[in-house]
């Protein structure tokens, strides 16, 4: 009867080895008992078998424990109880042994089972908490949504000890890297699934990343089948992945919001700049016009009352201010052309010294007591590009230098050859530009807050220079003088040409 009952318990095929192990332990107990029997010639060996049952119960769980108890009883009965090598159930003592074995198996097995369960669920909880913690850390640290998707794939793979792929917009992020999901699942990537529910297919599971009703990606994963001993609840892993996916969805939505906010701020800044430009243009156009109009009307009204010197001065004002307007309008036109891509560049070989000479001529009249010095190595330095646009680009830099340089200061223009390219440095003795603003001075409308208070200017000049130089395949940069003195070095690099 006991046998039948015991074998019914073997029924679940999974974990058969546990029963084999139980049998092995009991057989081991038998061997120990045999050794003791031979050595000490005692037949009071039920304790050895009891120890075997105890070990079985502690290590293998309840089912194998009962099985072990039954096996131990049978072997004990056949092997030690008189008549030996024959199964008999005659004395009350036999029954007592059987009952004690079974009771020990039951109590210990149940106790050990609880301890094991508690331990394995604690492990699972720790793993879950760890995965969630790392995920939330990674999600909140990444400000771009692709990084969130990559982190999600890695965390799912880690949490479920399996493989995971996140799909979005024709791209995929996977852990381990290079993994691709079954095609049938990739096809689902673009399709919304009602309620964000998990869909199962061929061992893979999938769930959409969603936030605010928008589908932000598809997570596809396959977890390693859980082994018999560490029987985690698969539903737990699934819930964990669901939480991870939802967290990632929220993180992506948040990063998108942050991006939108940054864009809105950029738009507001552009708007601000545009207004500043408008008022600046209004000022820069009106001031020369005001001087021209006032001069012309004064000459008409009081021409005969002015002496020759004043008349000459007023006509000179008209000429100079008209030239200034012309430069300003020219710069605005260049800017417009650069922005619309209408500027055509003729790449010809030209002498740098000649172009710089024209720039110096143009600027010298406004330079006042500032000294302009140019030097070239070699003398016949030649660059490839458009000489007229180069002149405009350099004139803007030199005018800028003149505007900020103190009276009596010196502006050096150096041309040199550097690895087949031509570099033109414009070095001034002005207040310079803080390092963190050096890149921004070539931005349109940018005027350094430190120096612009009492300087007129549109903030267009250097941005036009950059546009022109880049259109010719060159580049511009700015840096400090590097000799400890205040001042700015603006460098134009152009493709070199054979002289």
């Amino acid at each position: 009867m006991a046998r039948e009952w015991t074998f019914r318990r073997i029924a679940p095929p999974r974990g058969v080895w546990r029963y084999v192990a139980a049998l092995a332990i009991i057989i081991l107990s038998t061997l120990v008992a045999e050794t003791i029997y031979r050595t000490f010639e005692t037949d009071r060996l039920s304790m050895v078998f009891l120890a075997g049952v105890l070990v079985t119960a502690v290590t293998l769980g309840q089912g194998p424990a009962y099985f072990g108890a039954a096996a131990a009883f049978i072997i004990y009965d056949i092997y030690l109880v008189e008549p030996r090598f024959e199964f008999t159930m005659t004395s009350a003592e036999d029954f007592l042994v059987l009952i004690v074995f079974l009771a020990v198996a039951m109590l210990t097995g149940r106790l050990a089972g609880r301890v094991r369960e508690a331990q394995s669920s604690a492990e699972a909880r720790a793993r879950t908490a760890g995965a969630l913690f790392r995920a939330s850390e990674e999600f909140s640290a990444s400000d771009n949504e692709d990084a969130v998707r990559q982190a999600l794939a890695e965390r799912i793979a880690e949490a479920g000890r399996g493989q995971a792929v996140v799909l979005y917009d024709g791209r995929s992020w996977s852990a381990p890297p290079g993994l691709s999901p079954p095609e049938a699942l990739s096809d689902l990537a673009g399709r919304p699934v009602d309620g964000g529910a998990t869909v199962r297919e061929a061992g893979w599971r999938l769930r959409h990343l969603r936030a605010d009703g928008a589908v932000l990606g598809l997570a596809v994963w396959r977890l390693t089948p859980t082994d018999g001993r560490m029987a985690d609840n698969p539903a737990d892993d699934e819930r964990l992945v669901d939480v991870l996916v939802d967290m990632a969805g929220a993180a992506i939505a948040r990063s998108r919001l942050a991006e939108e906010q940054a864009e809105a701020e950029a738009r507001a800044r552009t708007e601000q700049l545009r207004n500043a430009l408008l008022s600046s243009i209004s000022h820069d156009l009106r001031t020369p016009l005001a001087a021209i109009l006032a001069s012309a009307t004064s000459l008409r009204e009081f021409g005969d009352r002015f002496d020759a010197e004043v008349r000459e001065d007023l006509t000179l004002t008209i000429q100079e201010e008209a030239e200034r307007l012309n430069r300003f309008v020219g710069n605005l036109l260049n800017m417009t052309k650069l922005e619309s891509g209408a500027l055509t560049i003729e790449g010809v070989s030209f002498g740098v010294a000649e172009v710089v000479g024209r720039v110096v001529q143009r600027v010298r009249r406004r330079a006042g007591a500032r000294e302009l010095v140019s030097h070239f190595t070699p003398d016949d330095l030649a660059a490839l590009g458009d000489p007229i646009l180069t002149e405009q680009a350099l004139a803007n830099i030199v005018e800028n230098a003149v505007r900020f340089a103190p009276n009596g200061g010196r502006i050096d223009i150096l041309g040199r050859r550097d690895a087949g390219r031509v570099v033109i440095d414009v070095i001034d003795q002005g207040p310079g530009v803080p390092d963190d603003e050096l890149r921004m001075i070539f931005e349109k409308f940018y005027r350094s807050p430190a120096t612009s208070t009492n300087q007129q200017g549109t903030g267009l000049g250097l941005s036009i220079t950059r546009g022109l130089v880049e259109a010719m395949g060159g580049e511009v940069s700015a840096r400090g003088r590097g000799d400890g003195r205040p001042g700015l070095v603006v460098s134009v690099t152009l493709p070199g040409a054979q002289a």
Binding site: S282, A290, A291, L293, S295, E301, F306, T317
Partner: protein, 233 residues
């Protein structure tokens, strides 16, 4: 040219403007002092007598509007605002702070001289009340409340008369919408500028030869109105 008509202080940081206006204003009979910053202007005014200040709103050291309010703390000297800014609210703010008039850059010298004369007249008016205002064919007698055009009497409603009187009191200087509303409807009244426009249109029908191209009652867009004074028509 032996007598100086008035002492002017020209405040502008644009060299080219100073270079032109100094000889022009001198040729017109004015003694001209110049200042390039707000502080320079105020220290000049603290020490020297001056009849009109011509002030550019865009100064390097401080906002032109602040210069106005600081001058107004202790001086009633007429201030004529000169600015390249075409922002109406800047002009209105300047006028509210106590500027007497403005002129937009660019301007003809004749226009500037007319504004200077109007500013000087406004200063005189503080001391003597003229009974009669004339502008071309238009004559307003404040004592008898009679308005005539080419000698013929023009019948005005009380509001139209109040409007004309308010404009005439400023004698060629700009009068803001708010100042006109205070003069016609009362200082505490909240009236839309639209009412002023309607009233001006009515008045133009009666005093202008061509109401759509007014010569006497001129509009300063976004700011207010001015009457062409007697000597400018």
């Amino acid at each position: 040219m032996s007598t100086v008509l008035a002492h002017l202080l020209l405040v502008d940081d644009e060299q080219q403007i100073l270079r032109v206006l100094k000889p022009a204003l001198a040729a017109a009979g004015y003694a001209v002092a110049t200042a390039e910053t707000g502080h320079e202007a105020m220290s000049y005014l603290a020490g020297e007598a001056c009849d009109v200040v011509i002030l550019d709103l865009g100064l390097p050291d401080m906002d032109g509007k602040e210069v106005i309010s600081r001058i107004r703390e202790w001086s009633e000297t007429p201030i004529l605002v000169l600015s390249a800014r075409d922002l109406e609210h800047e002009k209105i703010a300047a006028l509210d702070l106590g500027a007497d008039d403005f002129i937009n850059k660019p301007f003809a010298v004749g226009e500037l001289l007319a504004r200077i004369r109007a500013a000087l007249r406004g200063r005189e008016r503080r001391f003597s009340t003229h009974a009669v205002f004339k502008s071309g064919d238009l004559e307003v007698n404040f004592a008898t409340r009679r308005v005539t055009l080419q000698g013929y009497e023009v019948r005005l409603t009380p509001r139209e008369y109040d409007l004309l009187k308010a404009l005439a009191r400023y004698g060629g200087r700009v009068v803001t919408h708010r100042q006109l509303i205070a003069a016609v409807w009362g200082p505490a009244t909240q009236v839309d500028a639209q009412f002023v426009r309607v009233l001006v249109a009515q008045l133009r029908q009666k005093i202008e030869e061509e109401p759509s191209a007014p010569l006497i009652l001129l509009t300063e867009p976004g700011v207010g109105y001015r009457l062409t004074p007697e000597d400018e028509v």
